[in-house]
């Protein structure tokens, strides 16, 4: 749109189109950022102040208190769902989901790309049909299956059904296909078997891809809501995102809603995945935009 392609930065005259570009970007950034800043501000004040004045442009001194009550004080009847417990469950779900997805996906993709299999086409279609139907449309029967297998309120029940789709498998299949053919030939000439080739050559070669997949899958797992809502009913098994609903109900019921504590918990639910995405931005963007090819 502007002549940014060739002229060096220093020599460019200040044009009103550049000012407009920045203005629009700043407005966009504020649109994204203001809600978070509001949450952040209310975690530093007392609940009474929030109720009386709403969010303000000052930073209070209640951050520590709110943090302690969010982390260690339990809501609900069992006294088990402290912020710390929910944080742990969220980490187990996020990491367990990402690892499970990557390990199973890589194994299946390796089998599909590098082996002569009689029923390869059938396996391929069986696996990739799962890309078509999200968990949301088969949520009730999935719950019934988990119930029949005695998986309610277990980490297995929380994680494994979510792994039942082929996104990672598809991703790694695409990547393996782009690996030069000469590598396998060379490995075979050197006498390396399929297991050795996989562990010593293919896995190290996929490092960036694995990292990108891990970030995307960690965020995806951490942010799961519907499935954890159905499969966990015991408060000790709640994740932070699953606990959000209870927070809103707590805010409805009590005389002085505990905004400081609730907003702090929301903040704790937001920060880990957001930080992961920000710090590993380039891997994350690469993984995301290359998975559609």
């Amino acid at each position: 749109m502007t002549d940014t392609t060739s002229t060096p930065i220093a020599k460019r005259p200040l044009k009103w189109t550049h000012v407009m570009d920045h203005l629009i970007l700043i407005l966009g950034a504020l649109f994204m950022l203001v809600p978070l800043l509001m949450v952040l501000q209310t975690t530093t004040t007392t609940d009474l102040e929030t109720i009386k004045n709403g969010p303000e442009f000052v930073i209070g001194d209640q951050f520590d208190d709110n943090f302690m009550s969010a982390m260690f004080q339990a809501s609900g009847f069992s006294g088990e769902n402290t912020g710390l417990r929910m944080l742990m469950n969220s980490l187990i779900l996020g990491i367990g989901f990402a690892l499970g997805k990557i390990v199973i996906g890589m194994m299946a993709a390796y089998a599909l790309v590098y082996f002569r299999l009689r029923f390869a086409t059938l396996a391929f279609w069986l696996i990739f049909t799962t890309l078509l139907l999200p968990l949301e449309v088969r949520i009730l029967p999935s719950y019934e299956v988990a119930q029949k297998l005695g998986l309610l309120n277990t980490y297995t029940g929380l994680i494994v059904p979510l792994i039942a789709s082929a996104t990672a498998t598809f991703f790694f299949r695409q990547f393996f296909r782009s690996v030069p053919e000469e590598l396998v030939e060379a490995a075979r000439i050197d006498g390396a078997g399929p297991v050795k080739f996989f562990i010593d050559i293919l896995v190290p070669l996929s490092q960036t891809m694995i990292a990108a997949m891990f970030i995307i899958m960690f965020v995806f797992g951490w942010n799961q809501y519907l499935w954890p809502t159905m499969v966990t009913t015991e408060e000790g098994m709640f994740t932070l995102v699953r606990g959000i609903k209870q927070l809103t109900q707590d805010l409805e019921g009590t005389n002085i809603p505990e905004y400081g504590r609730a907003n702090m918990l929301a903040l704790i639910a937001i920060l880990p995945p957001v930080l992961v995405v920000i710090f590993f931005q380039s891997w994350f963007v690469k993984g995301l935009t290359e998975s559609d090819k």
Binding site: D21, M38, V113, L126, R138, I139, L140, V145, E181, V195
Partner: protein, 293 residues
């Protein structure tokens, strides 16, 4: 499959087994079960079920409430898709233009990707809080008495706004990476041919972005239909009542709360067919894309 593959028989089967086992138990079994139970009427007290053929489907067709929810879902999907795509495209074009602060803008505009939909809904609840929410105050200042959870239109507005906020980053990331993959030579040629930046955008940039746009269109429709479950659930505070809801939320309400397994399964099957149609459409687009480039 690679030309130079391994010929081992048992290893690929072993590698595929975990993936196949998980999708058999947690994908095919539930999906088949949903189709099956959509033809049955479950006894509300759990004393078996009886075959009713297409009754559950014809019942839905004649149900005015279901029709209303379907219409709302359509409107909701159109609004969310349009606004999040348009806003993201605008921001991506601007972010591609600027040189100063490009990285900072990119980070500020994409971090919301990692926020879970229900947490976004929770922030929406705070922003529209009756007594102190900043957006409710803003609405009041122009004479709009915003009543989240009470007034149908107001709740729907909040749902659309929160869902757009949550979806802009994904679209932004894809549009920006699409823009950055446009070769420099094309840009320079356009710069010589067309003086007005407006013309350059519509005649050169926009057509080159079309494949990304089509891909994102499907992604956004799927998002609005399914992933907004958390936004809806939190914004209506778990009490559907007269509040707006989407088709997926209705599946959950009828099946999980109302115990109408047959009706809920029939709704699931309708959604499955819808997603299948969308995906087939998408695959055909992708195929075409490979043909031309």
């Amino acid at each position: 499959m690679k030309r130079a593959g391994f010929a081992t028989r048992w290893l690929p089967i072993l590698l595929l087994l975990p993936q196949l086992a998980i999708i058999a138990v947690f994908f095919y079994w539930p999906a088949a079960h949903a189709v099956q139970s959509s033809f049955y009427l479950e006894d509300p007290f759990g004393f078996g079920s009886s075959f009713v053929g297409f009754d559950n489907y014809t019942h839905l067709a004649g149900n005015s409430e279901y029709g209303r929810i379907a219409k709302f879902t359509l409107l909701f999907t159109v609004l969310v898709t349009f606004f999040s795509l348009a806003l993201a495209l605008l921001l991506a074009v601007k972010a591609d233009n600027v040189i100063r602060g490009a990285k900072a803008y990119r980070t500020l505009l994409m971090w919301v990707y990692a926020v879970a939909p229900p947490v976004a809904g929770f922030i929406g609840l705070l922003m529209f809080n009756q007594s102190w929410g900043p957006l409710a105050e803003l609405a009041k200042s122009i004479g709009w008495d915003f009543k989240l959870g009470v007034n149908f239109g107001d709740t729907a507005t909040a749902m659309v706004l929160v869902s757009v906020w949550k979806q802009v980053p994904v679209n932004f990331i894809f549009f920006l990476s699409g823009l950055q993959s446009i070769p420099k030579s094309v840009r320079e040629a356009a710069l010589i041919d067309a003086k007005s930046s407006f013309r350059r955008f519509w005649d050169v940039t926009f057509p080159l972005l079309a494949p990304t746009g089509f891909f994102l269109l499907i992604i956004n429709i799927t998002y609005a239909l399914f992933d907004t479950f958390g936004v809806v659930d939190v914004l209506v505070k778990g009490e559907p009542g007269n509040n707006p809801m989407t088709l997926v939320y209705k599946v959950y309400v009828d099946g999980f709360r109302g115990n109408d397994i047959g009706g809920s399964s029939a709704q699931s099957v309708i959604l499955m067919v819808l997603v299948l149609a969308l995906t087939v459409f998408q695959f055909r687009l992708v195929e075409r894309r490979i043909h031309y480039t």
